[in-house]
Each structure stands twice: as C-alpha cells, then as structure tokens.
C-alpha cells in the first residue's frame, strides 16, 4: 500500500493477508483515476444526468419556525435511489469498470446502499451480490424487492444479530474467496483503507454544493452543519467542505435507540471505546474483552457498532462533536416534519432533524443550520407504522 490510510491514530487496514493485494489494487486505481479527465467527465455526467446532481438546498420555512432558527436542508433524498448512497456507488462502480472488474459485491443495512449498488450493477451490466443481515431483510423488505427487480442477488446473512456488521463480515469472507474478479463496493466511510478515503471522496459533492448554495442563499456560511452518523458517509460528505471553516460547528447525530443508559443503541462515538473492527482502528461498541456488542436502533442504516475512522479523528481533535437522539424523539420528529414540510425523511436523516428540534430555545434566532437530508423515508413506512400505527394515533 502507498498510504497507511490513517486519520491521526485511527484508520489503517487491519485485514487478513489474503485481502491486501485487492486493497492495493483499488488504492492504485483510485489514485490513478481520481485525476483522470475521462473518468471525471464520465462520473460528472452520471452525477448530473443520471443521479440528479446538484441537489437543492431548501429553506425549510415551517420547520425553521418550529425550532426558532433558520434550517436549510441538503436534499440528497431527491437523488435517484432516494439517498446519498448513489454518489458513492456511481463513483466506485465506475472505478470498478475502469479496473476491468465484472462483478460487484456490497453489504447493506437499511438496504439503501444495496439498492444504490444494484442500480449501478444494472447500469453497468455487472453481476451484483448484496449481503444483508437477515433481520434487516425482514424489516426493509421493500428495498430487498427493489434490489431483486434490478437484477441483484440478495444474500440474507444469519450470523450475529443479522444486521449491518454481520453483512460486512460475510461480504469480507466472500471477497477473500473471489478477490480476483470481484470488486467490493463498500458502502460507508469505514472499513479498511482505502475505503474511508474513497467513500469520502465520492460523497464530497454534498458538502461542496451545500457550502456554495448556502453562500448564495443566505449570504454567509452556516453556523451549524448537522448529519446523522452510522458509519458516517453522508456526514463526512457534508462535513468535508466545512473542515477549514473553524466557525462552522459540525454535529454528527448517532442513533440513541432506547437511550444511552441501555445497551439498545448504536451511539458509537458518544459511548464507545477505541478498538479494531472491519479493518479500521476506530471507536466501537464492545465489552471489556473486546467482543463486539449487539446494537439496536429504529433506523437500520445507523445500526452498526463501529464508525468511520475519520469521524473518530474529528471527535478526538474536537473539530466535530457527536450527540445522539433516541428512537422516540426520532418518531416524534418524523411525524412533525412530514406534515410540516411535505417530505417523508428517512429515519436515519430524521436523527439530525430531531437534534435540531432539541436546540429550540438554545440557539439565537439568527442561527443558520444546514441539515443533510440524506435519504427519503418511503422505505421506513412499515417501521413507523409498526411503532406508531396511524389508526391508534390521534392527530
């Protein structure tokens, strides 16, 4: 490898020897093509004509009134596939194509990354396998159906709790046996180097656009940029453009599940300790012996006991801060926001909105906040209905 892939003490590539040649090959291809004019032209065309970039920055007026300060939404939910995930899958998929790979594999939690990979697999005519925890297959069956319609094979993973962590384990295992013709399209800004850097790179348009759009619309930079953090790809994408603007506060919102006093949450940066999982040194939810803990969160896309290593570094340096909101606050906000703005937000993204709601009365009225609305909530209607059936609710 050319680089250690470190973010301060975090990151690296702690993987079995068998995967090193594949990671080296991807690192070399990424360094070569990220500057390549033809690659960039192809990617840009896909971003604009296929995915729908740039996405708007929308002034959410009614929600702003409700929280008492100005909130802009970066509308990644409007992208093809319904989430920011397509930025990364188009980038890595194109990279795989330039490398001459013919097969794609990916892990998925909520199914959004699996769906975005299935889309790219179909678009490029590549055989696609998606590893998905059995629990997630059950709770995100709409996305499973979509992936299958797009021609991908969905492989339910029974091990562990049947969630994202187990899907990553199984995808890594499959990859060790098929490294020669298969590209592992990693979904979040985590895992072994070079993935945290690659995923961040392909998600950077979110931040670049948001920064420019905020300057255009508000005439100045925002005071706060917030996004949900599971593995952390949408957050690192929007944070990246503001890292050199010291006055812009960066706030990552983790899944507080049933509350941080329980073990049923996935607030890794808020409560975790440093360790090594899935190729990276980062914060983890683990017991005192280093066994990885089960996590639980209403939002499948955040349900992961690790976090991207660059977020660990941003926490350590204090450049970003990380907070959590619990399931009930997320559900409250989901209903309120949907009816106020006419947008069904993904439960993942709703975490950032719920944190903004908590800031009511705590921030000056002239505060400007940009929240990354990383995905749309159509995929979550069954979960919401399960927790708060419409028939039982008085509205």
């Amino acid at each position: 490898m050319k680089s250690k892939g470190r973010f301060g003490p975090f990151g690296g590539y702690y993987v079995p020897e068998v995967l090193i040649p594949a990671l080296e090959e991807i690192e070399a291809a990424f360094e070569q093509f990220r500057q390549d004019p033809t690659f960039l032209k192809d990617l840009n065309t896909l971003y604009t004509d296929y995915a729908g970039r740039p996405t708007p920055l929308y002034h959410a007026r009614r929600f702003s009134e409700a929280v008492g300060f100005t909130v802009y939404l970066k509308r990644e939910d409007l992208l093809h596939g319904g989430a920011h995930k397509i930025n990364n899958t188009l980038g890595q998929g194109l990279l795989a194509r330039y490398m001459g790979k013919t097969k794609l594999i990916a892990e998925t939690g909520a199914g959004q990354h699996g769906l975005a990979t299935a889309i790219v697999g179909a678009l490029f005519g590549m055989e696609t396998k998606i590893f998905m925890g059995a629990t997630d297959v059950a709770r995100q069956n709409v996305n499973v159906h979509k992936m299958k319609l797009l021609g991908a094979e969905v492989i339910p993973v029974e091990g562990g709790t049947g969630t994202l962590k187990d899907a990553i384990n199984e995808a890594l295992r499959y990859w060790t046996a098929h490294v020669e013709d298969t590209f592992y399209l990693f979904g979040t800004a985590g895992g072994p180097h070079p993935y945290p850097t690659i995923v961040r790179h392909f998600q950077e348009p979110i931040g670049q656009e948001a920064r420019r759009q905020c300057l255009e619309k508000a005439g100045r930079l925002p005071d706060i940029v917030t996004a949900c953090v599971g593995g952390g790809s949408n957050a690192i994408g929007i944070f990246s453009a503001f890292l050199s603007d010291p006055k812009v506060q960066l706030v990552g919102v983790e899944g507080g599940g049933k509350g941080l006093h329980t073990t049923q949450h996935c607030a890794t940066l808020c409560t975790g300790t440093v360790g090594v999982l899935h190729g990276a040194r980062t914060y983890l939810l683990q017991d005192e012996n280093g066994q990885i803990r089960d996590t639980e969160c209403i939002s499948a896309g955040l349900d992961y006991p690790g976090v991207g290593p660059e977020h660990a570094y941003l926490k350590e340096t204090g450049r970003a801060r990380y907070v959590s909101v619990c399931d009930e606050e997320v559900l409250d906000t989901f209903f309120l926001f949907s009816r106020m703005e006419g947008i069904l937000p993904a439960l993942e993204s709703t975490h950032a909105l719920a944190w903004l709601r908590q800031q009511k009365g705590l921030l000056p009225h002239n505060t400007i906040a940009v929240a990354n609305l990383s995905g749309r909530g159509d995929k979550d209607i069954d979960i919401v209905e399960h927790h708060r059936p419409l028939t039982a609710r008085s509205l």
Binding site: Y13, P16, E17, V18, R173, T176, L284
Partner: protein, 273 residues
C-alpha cells in the same frame, strides 16, 4: 533453537498441528479434547480465542466461536486453559487471535501472560505484514515467536518480507477464502509451498481446507513442514457437542489416521532445495 525449530528438526515427517477454539463447546470438554489430541500424537497445537466477528473464518469455526463465547470464554480464561494444557504436557502452542482482543487486553501484557502460560507463538488473523511492527517487538520482548500468513495471491517480494518478520513458521493459506472443510485439496498449495521454499528457510505449515488424511498426505508431499487441521476437527464438536466421550474417540481416531498418512520426509528433497 526455538521450540518450533527443535520440533521440526526432530521429526522425520510433517508436523501434525490440530486447531481448536478454546472452550468449544465448554471449557471442560474442550480441555479433554485438546488433551486427547496431544495423546493422539499432535506435535504442535494451534489454539484460537473466540471472537464475535471472525472475518477470516468460515461457518464451522464461526459457530465454534459462538459456542465458546456462550460458554463464557474470555481471553483471561483462555490463558488459564493454556496453563492447564502445558501443565498436562509441554507442547509448542501457537495462538490464533483477532487483533481487537489483544488491543483491549493490552498487547504487551497479553503476550507476556501468554508466554508465562507456556505459549510459543502468536498469529493475529487481521494484522498483515505491513503492520507487523505492532506485534513483533511486543512478541520479542515477551519471548514469543511470530507467525504470519502467506496466501496464494501474495507476490514474491511480499513473501520475502513475511519470511523476514516470521520467527516461528509461515502459516501458509492453501486457498483464496476462509477456513472450512473442502472436498479436494486446493491446487494452489503445491506452487505456493514451492515458491516459499525457494525464497526462505523458515518452516512452512499449511492450513485452510485440509479435511482428510489424504489431503494431509498431499500437503506433506508438497514439502510442507506442518499440516494444520481446523474445521474438520471442529466439525466433530458441532456434530455431537453433548457427548464428550464420543467426541474424544472421534478426534483421537481421526488424528491417528492423519498422522499415519503423513509420509516420511524424503531425504533427497532437502538436497533439491
């Protein structure tokens, strides 16, 4: 001479190296089984500490890890286990561990405790040669040997670096993939062992997918210094976890068969090298 060197030089055949997950299916049964393996003629033991997320392992050893974790095995209990084994009979013990378990215990402290318990070498499944520094110095300070993996897709210059960092033996992975039983021995074994033998004098032990006495014999004929058998043995435990007597018999019989199948070393083979 380190314990491996004296073991390999004494033997006129490839070393028989069974693998067990410590505490699978329970501390006591596991202890009885490992002792039985020693009695059946194991030359070296490869022991694993169970981990919740073993990405280098196939389904058989994943399930073994879960059984052992359910039985309450912690790194501290694993060390106690190793103490009991070496008290039963001195035998070289290689440890296979996932990195996070070392990091949480404290790598230096763990390796010292492991050496005191009678351990010989450490192999970290998810630590490649590029990060060897994180383990080589603590291992050396603790008086332990290092073991690193080589795989069929490892290029020659990297194999050389692996050999340089290895003081115990090179854990040679027979195939591209995870641990687990296979019907046929991988075609990749012979060329990989041959490449290693050309590049280094370090002992070469082969593991992953070696499931029958015939496989073991083929590996030995390919001039491996040791044959590591994991999933086939662990599979016996999966099949009858609640019958320790039957398990002990099955494992004893199987290891005796494997040992009998290992051909004597061809004295001219060394001259060829």
């Amino acid at each position: 001479m380190n314990p491996y060197q004296s073991c390999f030089s004494k033997l006129n055949r490839a070393a028989l190296i069974p693998f067990f997950v410590i505490g699978d299916p329970s501390y006591e049964t596991s202890l009885a089984l490992v002792k039985a393996a020693i009695d059946a003629g194991a030359d070296i033991l490869e022991l694993g500490i169970p981990f919740s997320d073993p990405v280098a392992d196939g389904p058989t050893i994943q399930k073994a890890d879960l059984r052992a974790l359910k039985a309450g095995i912690t790194p501290a209990k694993a060390l106690q286990f190793i103490r009991e084994i070496t008290a039963y009979k001195p035998i070289p013990i290689g440890l296979l561990v996932y990195y996070n378990l070392l990091v949480q215990y404290g790598t230096e402290r763990f390796l010292q405790d492991f050496q005191k318990a009678g351990g010989t070498s450490v192999l970290v499944a998810d630590l490649s040669i590029d990060d060897a520094d994180e383990i080589t110095l603590p291992a050396k300070n603790a008086g332990l040997e290092t073991v690193f993996m080589a795989t069929p897709n490892t290029p020659d210059d990297r194999l050389r670096r692996i050999a340089e960092k290895t003081t115990g033996f090179i854990y040679t992975v027979s195939l591209l993939g995870t641990t687990g039983e296979r019907d046929a021995l991988s075609q990749a074994v012979r060329p990989l062992v041959a490449r290693l033998k050309r590049l280094t004098d370090k002992p070469v032990c082969v593991g992953f997918g070696i499931s029958t006495p015939q496989h073991a014999c083929e590996v030995a004929r390919a001039r491996a210094d040791g044959v590591i058998i994991g999933s086939r043995i662990v599979k016996f435990i999966e099949e009858t976890p609640d019958n320790p007597d039957e398990l002990r018999e099955n494992i004893t019989r199987f290891l005796s068969e494997v040992r009998a199948a290992l051909p004597p070393k061809n004295p001219t083979a060394k001259a060829d090298a």
